[in-house]
Structure formats: structure tokens, C-alpha cells
């Protein structure tokens, strides 16, 4: 694959979809959470970690993948799920806790699973790394295609699981990519206060992996780096640690005003979507009109998913008692 106009349009579309999705969720989220904030209140209870600003990472990496590839990620999964093509209606319904949701409402926003597109997310920091490596191993043993990709935050690198899994990937030369979304913050803690090295991709040499760092939160560059990593993985070239500089435009989760991001650091909180839109128009990949049409279509689609979710029934209480064990 190469960075064709189609790929770029597709990436833009995916970014717009993810943003519309997060925007609609945000609106829903605040219903009944004012004036008194409570995680548990309103139609969309629980913690909500939106992906505002990180859309280029999901879009760029997923555009370089094939259907067989397997993704795991963490507590901030929307942009990746959307980019991967997780069914928008079932995804929304899951986040609304409905019977029609991907997991019938058992999982919720941090636990998004869609086996049809080989996608999983879960909420403990760095916990998806081992599973993604194991999925890659499984395919290798089965002689089937597919590489493992795990997305983590820059803060998650400091979890021991990162070290253990990267080493295993290196020792067994697994077809694997660790994508580190460096949005500079883990909750309120800046990368510089938590991490003894500036670029986590530099750690790759310690693990017999290849390191790549992409700055600028630029989907085109992310795509290109991901493609190199994917090719490497598919051709026996081993694993890649791909660190991508991105931006978390809002707080850690809804309700965090993010007031600790001040001064110079605010300069990095730039919205990548209008920039990419501008570029695609400037380069005649989109026109103002086609861009607007695309945005309208995507917003309609997202609104429909929201409506579908809101109108879906809640699960039966008894559903809490099944799916603990497979039989």
C-alpha cells in the first residue's frame, strides 16, 4: 500500500468520524451531570476518555493494516475502534450499556471488543501488550496471516509489562507493533516527570526491535511509519516500537478540566483535523465541497448510531449472570 489520495481521504474521513463520535458522546455524557458532577449519572455513566486530538494515530496506523491484523488497546479506544471499522452502532450501543452493544452492555467504553474486526480494548495500563503478542504468535503457529498491534500511551511504557513483552517480541521475533501514543500526559503527569528517556522508541534497540518516532501528529507521516513497521513484521523483520507524538486536546477524562496544562505546553495542544483538512484541500485531494459533503455524511452516520443506541433496550438483569464462563 502507498499513500494514495484514496488512503488520505479515507484517513480524513476516519478522523472526522472519530471526532464526531466523541463530540456526540460528550454531549450525551454531560446530560444530568450538571450542576453536580457524578460519574454514575445520566444516560452515559462511567468514566469517559475521549480521543480528541489523537485521531491521526488511529487513522494513520489502521490505514496501513489488513483485515487479519489484530489490535489491542486500552482505556482510550474510540479513535482506534472507529479507524479499525468497529461497527459504529454496536459500539455506541455498548457505550450506552444497551443489549445491542458489542458485549451486550457488559463491557462499556473501556472494554470494547469486536471479534469481527479483530479489535479488543481493556482498562488496565499496558495489559493489552501481552495478548497482542500472543495473538501474533497464534497466527504464526497456525500458519495464518496477521500481525499483532498494541496501542498504549506514553505513560503506559513505565509499566513492567511493556518491558517484558517487548523482550519476548524481540526474542521470538514476533510480527508485532507497539504503537505508543505520546500525548505527553498520563492523567496529570507530564512525560518528562515520569520517564527517564525522551523518546521511548529509542528503547527498541534493547529489545531487538526497530524504533521509529513520528512527530507532528501528522496522519501522513504516521501512515508511512506504520507501513514500514507492518512490512517489517510481515516479512520476518521483527517488531517495531512506533512512538507517535500526538495531542490530548481535553482532560484525561470528561470532567477533568485539564487546568494543569499551562504555558508553553498549551502550544502543543493543536487540533490536527482542520490542519489535515486544509492540507488535503490545498493539495486538491478534497475540495471545500467534497470535504463538507463527507463531513455531513459522517455526522449523519454518527447521529444514526447515537439514535440506534439510545433507542435500543437495556439488557436483562439476568445477563449479568451469563458469559462469566464459556461452556
Amino acid at each position: 500500500m502507498s499513500l494514495t489520495s484514496d488512503v488520505r481521504r479515507k484517513m480524513y474521513e476516519v478522523m472526522v468520524r472519530s471526532r464526531a463520535f466523541d463530540d456526540r458522546l460528550t454531549e450525551q455524557y454531560w446530560i444530568d451531570k450538571k450542576p453536580i458532577f457524578a460519574f454514575g449519572a445520566g444516560p452515559l455513566p462511567g468514566e469517559l476518555h475521549t480521543s480528541h486530538g489523537q485521531e491521526p494515530v488511529g487513522a494513520g496506523v489502521c490505514a496501513a493494516l489488513l483485515a487479519d491484523d489484530m489490535i489491542t488497546t486500552g482505556h482510550r479506544p474510540h479513535h482506534i475502534a472507529v479507524a479499525r471499522g468497529v461497527d459504529l452502532k454496536s459500539l455506541t450501543a455498548e457505550i450506552f450499556g444497551r443489549k445491542t452493544g458489542l458485549s451486550g452492555g457488559r463491557g462499556g467504553h473501556m472494554h470494547i471488543y469486536d471479534k469481527r474486526v479483530n479489535f479488543s480494548s481493556s482498562g488496565i495500563i499496558a495489559e493489552g501488550l501481552g495478548p497482542a503478542a500472543g495473538m501474533a504468535l497464534a497466527r504464526k503457529m497456525q500458519g495464518k496471516p496477521g500481525i499483532g498491534i498494541s496501542f498504549i500511551g506514553e505513560g503506559a511504557v513505565n509499566q513492567g509489562a511493556f518491558h517484558e513483552v517487548m523482550n519476548i517480541v524481540g526474542v521470538f521475533k514476533l510480527p508485532f507493533i507497539c504503537v505508543i501514543e505520546d500525548n505527553k500526559y498520563a492523567v496529570t503527569t507530564h512525560k518528562s516527570a515520569s520517564t527517564a528517556t525522551e523518546r521511548n522508541s529509542d528503547r527498541a534497540t534493547c529489545y531487538g526491535m526497530t524504533g521509529e518516532f513520528v512527530s507532528g501528529n501528522d496522519p501522513d507521516l504516521i501512515y508511512a511509519a506504520a507501513e514500514r513497521a507492518v512490512t517489517r513484521a510481515r516479512t520476518g523483520g521483527g517488531g517495531t516500537i512506533l512512538e507517535v507524538e500526538t495531542a490530548r486536546l481535553l482532560g484525561h477524562f470528561m470532567g477533568d478540566p485539564g487546568g494543569y496544562i499551562t504555558g508553553e505546553r498549551k502550544l502543543y495542544q493543536v487540533d490536527p483535523i482542520p490542519i489535515y483538512r486544509r492540507r488535503l484541500i490545498d493539495e486538491n485531494i478534497l475540495t471545500e465541497a467534497t470535504a463538507s459533503a463527507l463531513e455531513l455524511a459522517v455526522n449523519t452516520e454518527v447521529n444514526e448510531a447515537m439514535r440506534f443506541a439510545a433507542e435500543s433496550p437495556f439488557p436483562d438483569p439476568i445477563d449479568a449472570l451469563n458469559c462469566t464462563f464459556a461452556d
Partner: protein
């Protein structure tokens, strides 16, 4: 941070001059007092210096005591639990925050095999005075990995004291006790009762008048919240408040329920449990942790290894029925030990109906 910008994890301040506090505010006073009076006390955890941690227990302490005593850590729980244990072995008294007890699986060894056993393995040479402050519980749709209680997971391992206050007075007094204790103390607070901002309306029965200065509440004594004669509802954590609500309901039916808060799982006040059950002759245990191999079995066994004949009816347990905590509200509430489930269990015990109400 200005009031307008207040992060939701800040605890709402109650009427100004009042000394009626939430648990998290009360705990914070104990931590502040100890840090002021003992230079060996310090805090470690994630996101505590600026924002006081998820419970607000460290609220403002970073600014007051500086980043050298309120230390923000990378997301490296094994690393900093071990670090805290080592510091404790050298005479410091760390208070470590682990926001959600659900994360304990990434650092269980450092706690249960190292911090908890060092005193024993060293034949008493080393002490490990450290407090692990952690949040428990469900009820706000935070799903399977951010809603657990895991009371028994910690209480089962030797060498760990495990406490769980349910009101502001106890929270402060037990925090003083915990910090002054020479052992690893796990201090579990249910998010839903702590009074932390992001959990919405306060649980009234968790508020209490709290003395200004320091005082201690000893571990290993149950607290009888409400006396009764027909059935003992023995509970821990938020379930205590559910039990109090259930007792109100039951009173309307003419059932007099005694509500016993364990407060401390290790040491466990077995005499206190027995005293109540011997009096009422009936037992319901309410616990938001998983049912099997947990607190509920231990409480029942405690009675039965003393005297099974005190029980006029089978004991009942109201716990999470050995499933993961579901996200969706109706699913979640169906498996939590809410007041209605507790009341149903008590009624069943009263009618000695052995078929219904058991999960």
C-alpha cells in the same frame, strides 16, 4: 485552581464552619497532621502532588509539603510499592495511593510477598510501616476493571492489616492509627461513600462530626451502627450504608435489624460478630466483594466454629455473585448488595425460608 475550574475529584466543601466532614476530607486531616508532626511520613502515588489523588486525600498537600514529600510516580506500581516498602524498612512511613484496588494485580507480589512478609522473614529485624490507601467499589458504571472490592484478596494474605472505615469520624481516626501502625495497612475506602467529588450525592450516613485535632480509632473492633434484636446484618464498606437503609425498610415491616460494621477485616473482631449474632440469632452478611472464598464465608464460619446453635435460621449472604462487574446500569445494580437485596435476605432469614433470596 479556582472554584470554577475545580476538578471533579475534589471533594465538595460542606457548610463553612461545620466540622461535619466527608470521609476523604477527614482522612486528609489525619494525613496532614501526621505529615506535619512526623517528618518520616510522606506520600507516593500517581497524580497526587497537584491534584490530591483520586480521593482528594492528598489535596493541597503537594503545595504545602512540596514535591519531595508528596511524590508523583510513573505508572509503575510494582516499582513504587517496592520502593515504599524499602523506605519503610529504613524508618520512613510512606502512605501509598493506589487509586483503584483493581490495579493491585500488577503489584500484588511487592505487597503480599514482600512488604507483608518481611517482618516475619527477618524474624522481626525489619518493620514495614506503610499505608496503602486504595479505592474500592462499583455503582457508577465503571465496569469490570474499575469497580472491584477485593477485600478478601488482601485480607487472606498474612501480614497485612486491612481496614475499611465507613464514616468520616472513623476514617480520620483509623487513618491516624494506620499511619502510626508498624505494619502494612491497607486502607480501603469505597469510592461511593468517600465523598469524593466525582461520585455525586453524598452518602449521608458516611458524614460525621470530626474533632479538629488528632485522635485514633483502634483496629479490630466492629461498630454497631444500629441496634436490633431480630437479625444481625454484618457488613463492610458501602454495604454498611445499604444495610442501614435496609434496616429502615425492615423496621417498617416490624423487623428489628442490627447493623454491624466490621470496619477492620484484619484484625477481625470475631467476638464482636459473635456477640451480635448470639443476641439476634440470625445472620445476613452484606459485602460488595465476590461471594465465594471471601468475607461472607469468613463471617459465617466465625459464628459456626464457636456455636452453630445460636443460628435460628440459615445465614444468608448478599454479595456479588461471582461474576465480573458489568458496565450497564441495570446489570450492575442487579448484582450489587443494594438495600433491597439485603432487606429481602433479612426477610427470608426471618421467615426461615431457605429457598429464596440466595444468589
Amino acid at each position: 485552581m479556582s472554584t470554577k475550574e475545580a476538578a471533579p475529584w475534589e471533594s465538595p466543601t460542606l457548610a463553612n464552619a461545620s466540622r461535619t466532614l466527608t470521609m476523604c476530607r477527614a482522612q486528609r486531616e489525619a494525613v496532614e497532621w501526621e505529615m506535619t508532626n512526623d517528618p518520616n511520613v510522606f506520600m507516593v502515588g500517581e497524580d497526587i502532588s497537584g491534584f490530591g489523588g483520586v480521593f482528594g486525600t492528598a489535596d493541597g498537600l503537594g503545595a504545602k509539603f512540596g514535591l519531595d514529600r508528596v511524590i508523583d510516580m510513573p505508572i509503575s506500581e510494582t516499582g513504587f510499592m517496592g520502593l515504599a516498602a524499602g523506605a519503610a524498612m529504613e524508618g520512613m512511613r510512606p502512605i501509598v495511593e493506589l487509586a483503584y484496588v483493581d490495579f493491585i494485580g500488577v503489584c500484588f507480589n511487592a505487597l503480599a510477598n514482600f512488604a507483608a512478609k518481611t517482618h516475619f522473614m527477618s524474624g522481626g529485624q525489619f518493620k514495614v510501616p506503610m499505608v496503602l490507601l486504595t479505592g474500592t467499589g462499583a455503582g457508577y458504571s465503571n465496569a469490570a476493571q474499575h469497580s472491584q472490592c477485593m477485600h478478601a484478596t488482601l485480607a487472606h494474605m498474612p501480614g497485612i492489616k486491612v481496614v475499611s472505615p465507613t464514616n468520616a469520624y472513623d476514617a480520620k481516626g483509623m487513618m491516624h492509627t494506620a499511619i502510626r501502625d508498624d505494619n502494612l495497612v491497607v486502607f480501603m475506602v469505597h469510592k461511593g461513600a468517600s465523598g469524593v467529588g466525582f461520585m455525586g450525592p453524598l452518602v449521608k450516613t458516611s458524614l460525621a462530626d470530626v474533632p479538629q485535632g488528632d485522635y485514633t480509632v483502634p483496629f479490630g473492633k466492629v461498630k454497631v451502627y444500629r441496634e436490633g434484636t431480630d437479625v444481625s446484618i454484618v457488613a463492610v464498606g458501602l454495604a454498611v450504608h445499604h444495610a442501614l437503609q435496609a434496616a429502615e425498610e425492615l423496621a417498617k415491616d416490624g423487623i428489628s435489624a442490627e447493623v454491624v460494621d466490621l470496619r477492620s477485616l484484619v484484625p477481625l473482631d470475631r467476638d464482636g460478630i459473635m456477640e451480635s449474632v448470639a443476641k439476634t440469632g440470625r445472620l445476613v452478611v452484606a459485602d460488595e466483594d465476590y461471594l465465594s472464598y471471601g468475607v461472607s464465608g469468613e463471617v459465617i464460619a466465625t459464628v459456626v466454629e464457636r456455636d452453630p446453635t445460636v443460628l435460628k435460621a440459615p445465614a444468608r449472604r448478599v454479595c456479588v455473585p461471582d461474576v465480573s462487574i458489568p458496565f450497564s446500569r441495570p446489570l450492575e445494580y442487579s448484582i450489587l448488595p443494594v438495600a433491597s437485596r439485603i432487606a429481602d435476605a433479612a426477610r427470608a432469614v426471618m421467615s426461615n425460608d431457605r429457598g429464596k433470596g440466595r444468589v
